[in-house]
């Protein structure tokens, strides 16, 4: 069972729809117990970084951390990926999980923000999440803040300079773009996550 964590940030339906299409058993849940039982955990999210505060209040933050410690595969999407870092300029008082090093920042003033639409990414061939995905694919973005490039970056994107479009570390995966909205490429990425 895949748990899609509902913490009141944006639309979970499209993520569930994609897993349904892939014939994966999944639920949208805000229950600590359900998240604790799940074989895989997905944290979607669109909107403000500060909305991740509710994860701490509800106990979901600890539940997710516990699952991760047990080696349960985790996928953070958009703000969900940003939350895997130490924090974000968007809400300096809100702590991320700190699974990945660095903090998220805004785009430079010379490009329109948010970064909305399809953009191409350069994929590292060693990535497990991008197995079978063309090394320069188009995926769909919608975000105002972005994650830094680190040793864990598995895909980068160019928009007002390079930023991390995806990162992976052991069983932890983060994607800044929306795989559930990225056509066949996105479905392949989700399929790879399911197959872990």
């Amino acid at each position: 069972m895949i748990a899609i964590v509902d913490y009141g940030a944006g639309n979970m339906v499209s993520v569930k729809k994609a897993f349904d299409w892939l014939r994966q058993d999944c639920i949208i849940t805000s229950s600590v117990a359900e998240v604790g039982k799940a074989a895989k955990v997905v944290l979607p999210g669109v909107g403000h970084f500060a909305t991740t505060e509710s994860l701490s209040r509800s106990g979901l933050r600890d539940a997710i951390q516990t699952s991760i410690n047990r080696g349960v595969p985790f996928l953070g999407i958009c703000v969900g990926m940003q939350w895997m870092f130490e924090g974000s300029e968007e809400a300096p008082k809100t702590r991320g999980l700190g699974l990945l090093e660095g903090a998220c920042g805004r785009f430079p003033a010379n490009v329109k923000s948010p970064h909305v639409g399809w953009n191409s990414i350069e994929v590292k061939p060693s990535s497990r999440l991008f197995r079978g995905v063309s090394p320069s694919s188009f995926v769909y973005f919608t975000h105002s803040y972005r994650a830094p490039l680190t040793d864990n970056t598995t895909a980068c994107c160019e928009y007002g300079g390079q930023f991390a479009a995806a990162a992976e570390k052991d069983q932890l995966f983060g994607v800044q773009f929306h795989p559930e909205k990225s056509g066949e490429t996105g479905l392949k990425i989700l399929e790879n996550f399911c197959a872990l």
């Binding site: 339906v13 729809k17 329109k112 948010p114 909305v116 188009f138 769909y140 919608t142 559930e180 990225s182």
Partner: protein, 238 residues
Amino acid sequence: MKGVHFENLRDAGDPAELARTHASSGADEIVLLDISATHEGRATLFETVARTAKQLFIPFTVGGGIRALEDAAAVFAAGADKISINSAALADPSLISRIAERFGSQAVVVAIDAKRSPDSASWGAYTHGGRKPTGRDAILWAKQAEDRGAGEILLTSMDRDGTGIGFDCELTRAVAEAVRIPVIASGGAGGAAHFVEVFRSGAADAALAASIFHYGYSNLSDLKKELGSHGIPVRWPC
């Protein structure tokens, strides 16, 4: 449904079927506008939205008949990624902020139907499928919509819609330069050259076309190839 100058509406086929066909032939987003909704006072067809969304894995926007936060919530629950509002936002601009606060700005598209003033010096915003002038300046309204939390502007030229003679690049540029959010140009596409023109001289961030695709006037992958050859970045292979 798709019309010429918003009149003579023709039935272009089942929306779910059309959306799937367009997506598999390379469309980057799908916009379902139930443009008769406000006029006839009926709500957006949730069932159609759900059926369309089920097999669609690219961004999906729904507009028409969304008058309140609850209408938007129902459309999102049915599987839409974004809603597009026009008349209701003009009647109560706070609707933009209320939807944006709950679902995020990325989910709120404000559609503006603009028509040139008789002296051609400015553009007015219209509602009810282009039948009612609001007395508002389209460019000022776009800025206000941005301030209220709109994530994108879907800008339709009433003068060009359905004509196939090309987008109104002057209007598009005026709005694109006035706001920092993406502007989707709509109305008037008749061929590949019009798209190149609206991206170049119109400074559009995206372009929308309906009849050109619905009735098979043009093939999407040929269009993308042509845009690519003019140095316009497109998603490829689509």
